[in-house]
Symmetry: C2
């Protein structure tokens, strides 16, 4: 039976010198996690690595004080399945013991970081890539061969203006991407229109450009901006208002005819249920961006998919936030619509690594065991530096 | 102009050997905070103390890594008002800089802890009790002379059964309380009924006994339990289901005729708006229990009150969770309906201190400056031990 023997956690600083309409990322940190297990098959201690998904700072002490001790103080029979293998669903339940309901912030990121490391560990123990294990465990062994990805960039850098934006987007095209996302909402609507037109000019058509307001607008502004940009036929219009303002989302959906996207700042099945119940999201075109690494990990994410499918949604409408290698496994193994990519942004958490090639907007994973962090040397240096 | 000169934070362990229907509190921790300021009036450095409200564990590192540095790196002109006094609303805005929307858990407790210390500090600087300052700043100088309080206890202790429960409740009556709250939901409905009947037997009538299921029930069970207990005419039926399951709350409100209560696990104005929009809460009898110490502090709490009042609610329907001395100031200064009390529970965060007398279910604060922590010697020892 696998026994979790040690858990290491450390805070690291991400490279992110930009802003969106709501926040400046210059001080952004994250937590890296190593989960060690002994399986008694002569291999000694095995290790899996993960991190707390991007944008919510580090949660090192939450893991050290609450979530890791609960695992380390549990008997292996509590977190292993009948065959003695680590069961991430039981792992999650143990980490969430004695936690009150509600208040789904920070905590889901901390638990998501440990979950990510556990999947990496299981992949190494079973000598399989994580997308395959996810597919076997939660998707009837079906999986995709490649994943639709889009380059999420177009942040505000404080200088360079439209020239810099176009240069950045051209760089993504040269890497094999054919769709991009840019930020709006920090300046005037006219400035947003200029940014969008510059992006369309680069990428070729509105259907390949998504825009993201990062929750900046009130209801009236969200609708007015929607009217101002509807004619571009954009890929989607993301997080117009506060992620928990379901009424705003609902009102916007009644006026904006193109696709709307939201969900990256919903961290629990409860929040997702409320979005679907009250937010007026349209299963035939809208996009849901919940990120397992921000929301208690894969077990909760699978619960979200189950809820969505029992409410008339296809999982193909899901494109997780986060732009990291783990979510590429999730999208490939669970057959999502695709996933965000952060080429060159939020490094080294962001980015898919040297093993992943992007071609005509699709990415394919190698068969490296676990998550394949070894293809991200700088991140591996951080992981190895914990010991 | 007041300059915040130092912020100290430490993790402490609370005394809480009991359970509710959802969690065991044996490992419960909290964070204590000291905020120091220099005002240049010859008094040298002044200090205020606070803590993260009860039930959500410590958030020491969140404060150390994010919220304290943002304050300490700000110019005093950013957090002082035109007269050079500390302005808690600006303090809160600085702490929330570069924080993404959504995810209102943990973070609001951390910021609430600093906010509590800032109010204590302001009270000491102005040589006034905090209830008076709150009244002057946010309530047109109106305030109450005393506050309706109820003893929240009746937890599960694993032994003793109904005898222990009755003994506990009789203790509250002897302290001057005339209303109590007990936990339900951990056992069968029949066991709950026995607990309720024992409590009514002690306190005299159902109208003096509230019950709290701590979010344990699904919709069907919540309604069935409601039917089973409606005849007792209880003070209120609290957190029947998940705090974010507004649809459950709405369905329950359509069948249960007595008062319903919820809100202690809603930590943001966004969550409260959703409860009011979708939860079917009834302004003529239901009770809202948001706790400033769990939800970004007084500035956000005042926003909640403003939203409620503009939606047909009286602030007299608000009874904050938390059972601590600070919330007694909040209830007295902002003229709420009352507040929870934890006599002997979650000490030393819980409990009002030696200065506060409870008589016929009402509590009165002394005029000690600040929050008056000096009347809680054990807590003061912790605070002083930080330096």
């Amino acid at each position: 039976m696998a026994r979790i023997s040690r858990i290491l956690v450390e805070t690291v600083k991400l490279r992110a010198s930009m802003s969106n309409a709501a926040v400046n990322f210059a001080g952004l940190t994250g937590s890296i996690v190593a989960v060690f297990a002994e399986v008694g098959d002569g291999r000694g201690e095995c290790v899996g690595y993960g991190f707390g998904s991007i944008g919510r700072y580090a949660h090192t002490e939450l893991i050290k004080e609450r979530f890791a001790p609960r695992l380390l103080n549990s008997d292996p029979s509590e977190y292993c399945d009948e065959e003695g293998r680590l069961d991430p669903v039981r792992v999650e339940a143990i980490m969430r013991r004695d936690e009150k309901p509600g208040g789904h912030g920070e905590r889901p990121v901390a638990i998501g970081a440990v979950d990510m490391a556990v999947w990496d560990l299981i992949g190494k123990l079973e000598r399989k890539p994580v997308f395959q294990i996810l597919s076997e465990r939660f998707n009837g062994s079906s999986m995709d061969n490649s994943v639709s990805v889009y380059a999420a960039g177009g942040y505000y850098y404080g200088d360079g203006g439209l020239g810099r934006l176009k240069e950045e987007l051209e760089g993504y095209l040269s890497l094999g991407y054919d769709a991009v996302k840019i930020k709006i909402g920090a300046g005037s609507v006219q400035e947003d229109r200029e940014r969008i037109e510059a992006a369309i000019d680069c990428v070729g058509e509105g259907a390949s450009v998504a825009v993201d307001a990062n929750g900046r607008y009130d209801c009236e502004t969200a609708i007015a901006v929607g009217e101002a940009i509807e004619g571009y036929g954009l890929r989607w219009y993301e997080e117009a208002g506060d992620p928990l303002d379901y009424r705003l989302q609902n009102s916007l959906g009644k006026t904006y005819k193109g696709a709307l996207a939201t969900g990256e700042n919903l961290f629990s099945i409860q929040d997702v249920r409320n979005l679907i119940r009250y937010g007026g999201m349209r299963p035939d075109g809208d996009v849901l961006q919940m990120d397992p690494g921000l929301s208690y990990g894969i077990p909760e994410y699978v619960r979200m998919l189950g809820f969505l499918e029992s409410n008339g949604w296809s999982r193909r409408r899901c494109f997780p936030h986060g732009g990291n290698l783990f979510n590429l496994h999730v999208a490939q193994g669970l057959q999502l619509g695709g996933t965000e990519a952060y080429p060159g942004v939020f490094e080294p958490f962001g980015g898919f690594g040297d093993d992943v090639s992007v071609c005509e907007g699709r990415a394919s994973l190698s068969n490296a065991p676990g998550i394949g962090w070894e293809s991200k040397p700088e991140l591996m240096d951080w992981f190895l530096g914990m010991e």
